[in-house]
Amino acid sequence: MLIYTLKRLLYVLPVAFGVSVVCFLLVHITPGDPLTAVMPIDASAEQQAAMRAAYGFDKPLPVQYVIWLGKVMIGDLGTSIASGRSVLTEVSRAVSNTLILSAVATAIGFFFGCLFGFVAGYYRGSAVDRIASALSVLGVSVPHYWLGMVLVIVFSVQLNWLPATGAGPGGSADWTWNWEHIRHLILPAITMSVIPMGVIARTIRALVAEILSQEFVQALAAKGMTDRGIFRHVVKNTAPTALAVMGLQLGYLLGGSILIETVFSWPGTGFLLNAAIFQRDLPLLQGTILVLAMFFVLLNLLVDVLQTALDPRIQRA
């Protein structure tokens, strides 16, 4: 198991390299000069050249990449063109906010997804199954930014129970675990949890139905196991897949929550990406994408290792 984990860790290196190249190129092959957004329109050619040299944009691409990678290695993601602050501090604060939001959302989604999935899978074809399935289809297909707005209208505007935007009182972007902050988390987390809930519920329903139709469930009953004992076996059989799906969902939420973060003005990576794109803030964009991609790679690693630990049929080679 340890050897497998180390081996798997080693495989991360080429993937990480590829990710860094793509991150770097992605930004450079998009049309438009990043400097035009920040330079005054009437800047002279010399001024533009000086600025370009200051950011290293005058060198050939491979050289730029090597310089950029070298800096990334020592934790220097450059400075944001728009704000002039270090990209690393901006990104790490945004990442921690997003991490909190998406982890809580995934946890909620995982809990209800499992609940609905197991109930639907066990009572397949019954009314409960139809309700649970309808809810999960709804979860996958409802536009979540729209759901977010509806929730804001109902709970913030009409009922005035919960704040509509921000991550803390007075637009604070530094998270602490207290009620004042958690109040701000509830609506975006619920909105966000709807997607993983739907996906997990559908996956688990299909899995449970498939497992229950297998002969070993009959064999368990034939050796006198009670329904509770059989349920334990079913859970252990669903766990590897359920965890894999959850890990991937968490990965998607980390990077894919631009709409929700914008609706709720949540100071996370999605919000940051949005700003970076509109301001053509190249270093910030690169840094954010790189960090998010790395999170995805690491999450995949974690899921792989966990899955191998849980499912003996996956070769520990």
């Binding site: 002969e215 009959q218 009953a221 034939a222 006198g224 499912d311 003996p312 049929r313």
Partner: protein
């Protein structure tokens, strides 16, 4: 041996009502098995032999099955058991060996865990004791290096080894009745005979009452004391292995014996029974074998033939025998 049979099935009818038309899988099966006796249920696919076997553990889904008749095993009326009582009976008094052990064992639990789980389900023993008993069981079914095999997952074992583990699991709580559902069908021919010999040996040693379901007359001859031939949910002929082989009286049994490659001359055509078994959702009113029977007469199509006693322990359901007795 006592006079009270270990297994006593009387007029069992099993109808599956889940589909559009009810399927009459078992139609009035009556059979009994003594303590320490091996009965082979012989028949082709869809003849109701597995359904009969599963009734002995009351395994049919309640909402989609209509059961009538009585199934008494070890003094308990099985069809009246439910919930906890049924779970206590399963695995403890009677246990089952499945056709394909790879499907019948949980893939994410080790073989050892699955055996100890069964032991601890029925008996209040410590996990160390259960582990020791599991080890002894694997030794009993002659699995090499049993200590290591306890830690193995089902997919890490060979087919024959898995079926041995399945047998060990079935014997975990010292049941009195062993139900084997085509236990060797999924195995290689060489492994088949080993498993059959093992089953026979364990059955004698433990004095088990066994019902063995098979479509292979050779398997039945190898292990069984008595054979019951099933066709379209009815037992058409029962008798000792000797009766069935030497003196088959039902045309279906005769056809089964004739269709064996065993005694056929090489190059000669194998005698197959023409036609296919009837649709269990629309059984003919008369003898269900009549459409395929070369001796079929008008009387065969009227009502199902009665059971005719041919000799001690040898009986068949055929109109021709009824006529022979009447004459």
């Amino acid at each position: 041996m006592t006079d009270i049979p270990m297994i006593d099935i009387r007029d069992l009818n099993v109808t599956f009502t889940g589909g559009r038309k009810p399927v009459h899988a078992v139609n009035g099966v009556t059979l009994s098995v003594q303590r320490g006796e091996v009965l082979a249920l012989l028949g082709e696919s869809g003849s109701g032999k597995s359904v009969t076997l599963r009734s002995l553990l009351n395994m049919h889904p309640k909402n989609r099955t209509k059961l009538s008749g009585s199934v008494v095993a070890a003094g308990q009326d099985i069809l009246k058991l439910s919930g906890r009582g049924l779970a206590d009976y399963r695995g403890k008094m009677a246990s089952m060996i499945f056709q394909e052990p790879l499907l019948a064992l949980d893939p994410v639990y080790t073989v050892g865990a699955q055996i100890t789980e069964a032991i601890r389900r029925h008996e209040p023993v410590s996990s160390a004791e259960a582990h020791a008993r599991a080890l002894a069981l694997l030794q009993k079914v002659k699995i090499p290096s049993p200590e290591r095999r306890l830690q193995a997952f089902p997919h890490e074992m060979s087919g024959g080894m898995r079926q041995r583990a399945m047998i060990a699991l079935a014997l975990a709580c010292n049941p009195q009745i062993l139900l084997a559902d085509e236990p060797t069908t999924a195995l290689d021919a060489t492994v088949q005979i080993q498993i059959l010999l093992l089953l026979r040996e364990l059955q004698r040693e433990l004095g088990l009452s066994v019902i063995l379901v098979t479509h292979d007359i050779g398997v039945a001859v190898e292990v069984a004391d008595r054979v019951a031939v099933m066709y379209a949910g009815r037992i058409v002929e029962t008798g000792s292995v000797r009766d069935i082989i030497r003196n088959p009286r039902h045309p279906y049994t005769q056809g089964l014996l004739a269709s064996r490659a065993h005694d056929a001359m090489s190059g000669a055509r194998l005698d197959a029974i023409p036609g296919a078994p009837p649709d269990l959702a629309a059984l003919p009113p008369g003898c269900s074998f009549a459409p395929r029977c070369k001796h079929a007469a008008a009387a065969c199509l009227v009502a199902p033939p009665e059971v005719v006693e041919i000799g001690p322990g040898h009986a068949a359901r055929c109109v021709r025998l009824t006529e022979a007795v009447a004459a």
